[in-house]
């Protein structure tokens, strides 16, 4: 007997936040250690009292329960056609994704077609706008090929521009790729045909987190960005505007303390790459190599950036920026900058920005 219909019923509970679904799943299979069958046999009161579900949620569950046989039909059809259904508690589920998105955003189910082993290989995402400039595409091509040759999985979203370029370049050198779909997996038939050779060779994995039958939509396309970032160990930005999917995605990533690399823009480029560097992304050259700290302008920018929210010690700065430099020397360097003041907090020398007020509380969490 297989649990897939139950998983699907829960994963697609209408208007439930992912976190809510995940915590219910955790409660059922991890904390209570009961089966889904048992869970669905509980009555309304038990759902309300034991699982702290409100009236509306209980009603949703009751409706979903009636749909279980229907999900059985759908699951059978998916499996028969060779799609995989990967549950969040399975070994095959991408550990990177789980780590990056945590319980709050990790999708409970992944629908895939192709080589599922790719989910647990080291991976990069190359992102950027649909209307990226030639130079951004050139950059994308170069680094995608480099990664592919080094057996890194290139995660892409199958959008025009940077996404497609990254994918094509990867496949050109017989690299491996995960394509995160902006639609239900069963509806991607043009892609089945286009990437047939790569799928049967095991070079490509198609992946969707949505209900298998939903067609493409703008909402889903925006919604999937988080999974692209989530599936990648490293993120490279080829080009971003001040708004749009790439920008929001990257800002979100920075907020979550993820390391983000961005192509160093030429002086006359009209995009927001430079702004991203100011916000804390690491600039890279056309080969994707981080630009050295000796470049004083960037170095100061990074220091400014990193100290913008809270004071830090030299050691902490060194770690955050992945600097290959002696801590003492770094300390001296920073001290010499005119926008920096240093002070002792709990007997350790820390740096902060001149115009920022002294902060209180536990700063070193």
């Amino acid at each position: 007997m297989s649990d897939y219909p139950y998983w699907m019923a829960l994963a697609h509970l209408p208007n439930w936040l992912t976190e809510k679904i995940n915590s219910l799943i955790v409660e059922i299979i991890q904390n209570r250690r009961i089966s889904f069958v048992e869970f669905f046999e509980l009555n309304k009161n038990e759902w309300q009292n034991e699982f702290q579900l409100n009236e509306k949620e209980v009603e949703d569950l009751q409706n979903t329960k009636l749909e279980l046989p229907n999900y059985s039909f759908l699951a059978e059809s998916l499996l028969e056609q060779g799609f995989s259904i990967i549950t969040i508690n399975s070994e095959e589920y991408s550990k990177t994704l789980k780590q990056n998105l945590k319980m709050k955003y990790s999708p409970p189910l992944l629908y895939t077609k192709g080589n599922i082993k790719l989910l647990n290989e080291s991976s990069v995402a190359i992102v950027g706008s649909r209307k990226a400039s030639d130079i951004a595409l050139e950059f994308t091509k170069t680094i995608a090929k480099n990664f592919a040759k080094n057996y890194q999985i290139v995660v892409s979203g199958f959008a025009k521009g940077v996404d497609k370029t990254a994918l094509d370049a990867t496949l050109e050198v017989h690299g491996h790729s995960i394509i995160v779909l902006p639609q239900g997996i069963m509806t991607f038939t043009s892609g089945f045909k286009k990437y047939y050779a790569q799928i049967i060779e095991g070079d490509v994995l198609l992946l969707s987190t949505y209900h298998p039958n939903v067609p493409w939509s703008v909402g889903l396309a925006m919604g999937r960005n988080i999974y692209i970032y989530g599936l990648a160990d490293k993120i490279y930005v080829a080009e971003t505007d001040l708004k749009g999917g790439t920008w929001t995605g990257v800002m979100d990533g920075l907020k979550k303390d993820r390391t983000i690399y961005v192509r160093e823009p030429e002086s006359d480029e009209k995009n927001a790459n430079y702004l991203l560097i100011e916000k804390g992304a690491i600039p890279v050259d056309m080969d994707g190599k981080p630009i050295q700290v000796e470049d004083k302008k960037y170095f100061e920018l990074q220091i400014k950036n990193i100290l913008s929210s809270k004071p830090l010690t030299a050691k902490q700065i060194k770690d955050c920026l992945h600097l290959d430099i002696d801590t003492l020397k770094l300390s001296q360097l920073i001290s010499s900058m005119d926008f920096i003041v240093s002070e002792k907090i709990k007997k350790v020398k820390s740096f902060r920005l001149k115009n920022k007020k002294k902060l209180q509380g536990n700063l070193f969490e």
Binding site: M1, P69, E80, Q81
Partner: protein, 839 residues
């Protein structure tokens, strides 16, 4: 609901008095959400075990059922007692099926019957997501197991489905015919957790007997004698579709009211015969086992098999249709010991050779393909492709994937190697089952006991009614009287050629006989390939008889013939003679305008159709507008050439095209070649031999050309014996070539490529894109230049205008000019409008 309440409901709804014990037990457990495998004898009342609960559940009960006739039979009954039920199947219009889905979604149906193959249908999968489901039933569940009779691959998916259904969701599987091995297999496949309920199998009112005959003619004569003295109505089972027609015609010939039934008939005829069976419209129906399993009619008084069934289980199932009212019923097996040869042959050849599997795999490694394109790419027959794809899916080497509404086959990442061991095991198993049938036929002990024991019921002992228990020995010898009568029959046994289609004016025609019958085939062959001269007079007489039989005194405006490919003027002379005798004008106008390959190079109808597309034209097209044409040819095989010519004539404005041919080959339909049969045997062999001979001829011609090209004597290239061996072995690759006697490495290196190309003509993988583009028939292109509106659809406005002008007396010629369409198209349209608007 307790049993008493239920009994009351049973009376109210089903008009039955009480439940049998096993019925009640099943119903109770089902209502508790259990999973049951119910094995009870034929006619027991298994259907009630789901029909009753279905009326009590809130939602829908889905019944997977293997036969369309069975579905219709059940629906008819359910509707008659006021239970809303429907079936969805491939013989209904898509709109009708969609409507039923809609009704099911709105909970307006209680029981829905569908074929297991539906599970592959996108619309159904979409629709079922929105239905409120209460129970799933797998009727005739033995189809799940390869060890059962009538294994149906689509049932495999039903099993996967059952495994995915919530464990407390009621599932009922029923069958009468499951050996212990099959029962265990079903339970294991359903994932355990299944309660088995099993009753005994004895059918008390059956009088089983076996009649020894020593020829097909003997069977025919025995049947005629038997039926003249037999009360009531019954069924006669033959092994093939072809034989249903043959035996039914024979019985009609001797004055017995018989109809024939098989899966090859169109849906309407089948429905009519099913209804007629229920109302005893005919004395007997001659059928394949497409009308078998599960069909419920109370008073079938006799069942006769003209061919040994494939296994004792098949037999028990097929005779199960009879005597469901418990009155005495006669069950006869006509047995000729040589009958085993053909089923044996089919069992041994039920799977294509391994390199054909490889051909399919290789094609699918290139790109995903529909079944249609798979046939084009591999030049395998439809049946071969079907068998191979089923096996490959089963072994998870390929999968069937939905591309929107259409299906394609995909090779799988990490696909395993093809494992042929299961094929061999199954083959041996089937041979063993066949041996058991022969044992039944030759048994000296109680026959009912034999059958029940085979199915795992040891409780019978001695039925006291079978021929062995009563010590009757049935042996039938053929009298000269009958022999003559049969000869008379065969001489006027003509075959309908089914070629009618919606967008063509061609009508069904007639053949004077089967290619392999009464030596027609060998006579034709001698004339065509061994310089035997014109087709002899007796073929002419026979063909004229066929014409009279089919068309009576009908007059035709013109006789035409298919332009020759290799038979020189044979067909022309033949057609001319026919025209002369019938007094119809004769024409040489039908011409080939592009080069085609001989049709027999192509194994399936798709490639054959493409081969002849646009290849014909008629010289003086004005001559045939609105006319009726009799169209003569020697052999009718797939019918693709005739249909293409029919289309061409229709396009040119001919009102009617009727084909008349000397002989028809046995088509490649599934039943025809997988089910054993007596009479088809000779035919099958002749056909095969011909293919060999033709390939040999092709190879010889190639050798002559090659010898000229290289200026060396022909024998230096390859010996006749070697060529014969090649024709025999049909090699598919260099490895095959090297194994052929008479071919050395050097020869293979020099000529291998040529030879392989000849043997597997034209199937080197072209890309799908290029092969798909249909070449536009040249007559179409020509017409397009002169008549720019040709091939554009008629609008309502056009219609009105045309009708108006026509009624004003404008001539077709002028109308053609006015509408920029051919005269043929105009007169065709006028005909249509005539029907629509009247005078």
């Amino acid at each position: 609901m307790n049993r008493n309440q239920a009994k009351q409901t049973l009376r109210n709804i089903f008009n039955l008095n009480h439940f049998y014990e096993d019925q009640w037990e099943t119903i109770e457990r089902i209502s508790n959400g259990e999973r049951i495998l119910l094995i009870e004898k034929t006619g027991f009342g298994k259907s009630l075990c789901y029909q009753f609960p279905a009326t009590q559940f809130h939602g829908l009960t889905v019944v997977f059922s293997p036969l369309i006739a069975l579905m219709r039979n059940q629906i008819k009954y359910l509707k008659s007692i006021g239970i809303s039920s429907e079936c969805v199947n491939s013989e209904q219009e898509p709109e009708e099926n969609s409507e039923i889905f809609e009704k099911a979604k709105q909970s307006k149906i209680k029981i829905l019957y569908i074929a297991p193959e539906r599970q592959e249908n996108q619309e159904w999968l979409e629709a079922v997501r929105k239905m409120k489901l209460s129970m799933v039933v797998v009727d005739e569940a033995h189809c799940i197991s390869v060890w059962g009779h009538d294994f149906r691959p689509a049932f495999r998916r039903i099993i996967s489905l059952v495994k995915l259904l919530p464990s407390n969701f009621p599932v009922l599987a029923t069958t009468a015919t499951a050996t212990e091995r099959v029962a265990n297999d079903i339970i294991a496949q359903m994932g355990g957790n299944v309660k088995l309920i099993r009753g005994n199998l004895l059918r008390e009112n059956f009088y089983l007997s076996v009649v020894r005959v020593d020829s097909e003619e003997g069977k025919m004569a025995w049947l005629a004698e038997f039926l003249k003295n037999q009360n009531g109505n019954g069924l006669i089972y033959t092994g093939t579709r072809v034989n249903t027609d043959l035996f039914a015609s024979w019985l009609q010939f001797v004055g017995i009211d018989a109809a024939n039934y098989n899966a090859g008939l169109d849906a309407d005829s089948r429905k009519e015969i099913e209804d007629g069976l229920l109302s005893n419209r005919w004395k007997c129906i001659v059928s394949t086992n497409a009308l078998g399993m599960g069909f419920d009619k109370p008073d079938i008084r006799f069942i006769i098999h003209t061919q040994i069934p494939q296994s004792p289980i098949h037999y028990y199932q097929e005779i199960g249709r009879a005597g469901r009212d418990s009155l005495p019923t006669k069950i006869v097996l006509l047995y000729n010991p040589v009958d085993r040869e053909l089923p044996e042959h089919f069992i041994n050849n039920s799977r294509p050779s391994i390199n054909k599997y490889q051909r399919v795999i290789n094609a699918l490694k290139q790109e995903p393909l529909s079944i249609h394109n798979l046939m084009r790419k591999t030049n395998l027959t439809q049946i071969q492709v079907r068998v191979i794809k089923t096996d490959l899916i089963d072994q998870r080497i390929i999968r069937e994937v939905m591309y929107g509404k259409s299906k394609k086959y995909e090779y799988q990442f990490r696909a395993p190697q093809l494992d042929t061991r299961p094929f061999e095991i199954l083959r041996q198993f089937k041979i063993a089952e066949l041996k058991q049938v022969i044992e039944y036929a030759e048994a000296a002990t109680c026959r009912m006991d034999f059958l029940c024991k085979y199915l795992g019921d040891n409780s019978v002992g001695r039925c006291g009614k079978c021929d062995n228990d009563l010590q009757i020995i049935n042996k039938f010898t053929l009298t000269d009287n009958w022999k003559n009568k049969i000869k008379e029959f065969i001489e006027c046994y003509f075959l309908e050629l089914k070629v009618e289609s919606r967008n063509s004016n061609i009508v069904n025609g007639v053949a004077s006989g089967y290619y392999g019958f009464s030596n027609i085939g060998s006579v034709i062959h001698r004339c065509k390939y061994e310089n035997g001269g014109d087709f002899p007079n007796h073929l002419l007489i026979q063909t004229l008889r066929a014409f009279r039989h089919k068309f009576g005194k009908e007059k035709f405006d013109l006789v035409v013939y298919v332009p020759p490919t290799e038979s020189g003027d044979l067909v022309k002379n033949f057609a001319e003679k026919i025209a002369k005798i019938l007094g119809f004008p004769f024409s040489n106008g039908l011409k080939k305008i592009s080069k085609t390959e001989p049709q027999k190079v192509f194994e399936n109808y798709i490639l054959k159709r493409e081969n002849v597309k646009g290849a014909f034209t008629f010289e003086n097209s004005a001559e045939i507008i609105g006319k009726s044409i009799l169209f003569v040819d020697d052999i009718f095989d797939s019918g693709t050439t005739i249909k293409e010519i029919g289309k061409m004539f229709t396009y040119l404005g001919t009102a009617k095209i009727a084909p008349l041919v000397i002989a028809k080959t046995i088509g490649g339909s599934w039943d025809d070649i997988t089910k054993p049969a007596g009479l088809t045997k000779r035919i099958v062999n002749t056909k095969k031999d011909n293919l060999k001979i033709d390939l040999y001829k092709i190879l010889r011609r190639w050798r002559v050309r090659k010898a000229k090209e290289l200026s060396i004597p022909a024998y230096c290239i390859l010996s006749n014996a070697a060529l014969k061996n090649i024709a025999e072995m049909k090699p598919e690759n260099f490895m095959d070539l090297l194994e052929i006697h008479g071919l050395g490495k050097i020869t293979v290196k020099k000529y291998g490529e040529d030879i392989l190309r000849l043997v597997n003509k034209g199937f080197e993988t072209k890309s799908e894109e290029t092969t798909k583009k249909p070449k536009i028939p040249s007559y179409i292109e020509e017409n397009r230049k002169i008549y720019p509106n040709a091939y554009k659809p008629w609008t309502e406005e056009d219609n009105k205008k045309l009708w108006q002008l026509y009624n004003r007396g404008m001539k077709v010629e002028h109308l053609s000019h006015f509408f920029k369409r051919t005269k043929g198209a105009i007169s065709l349209r006028i005909n249509k409008l005539y029907i629509k608007y009247g005078k």
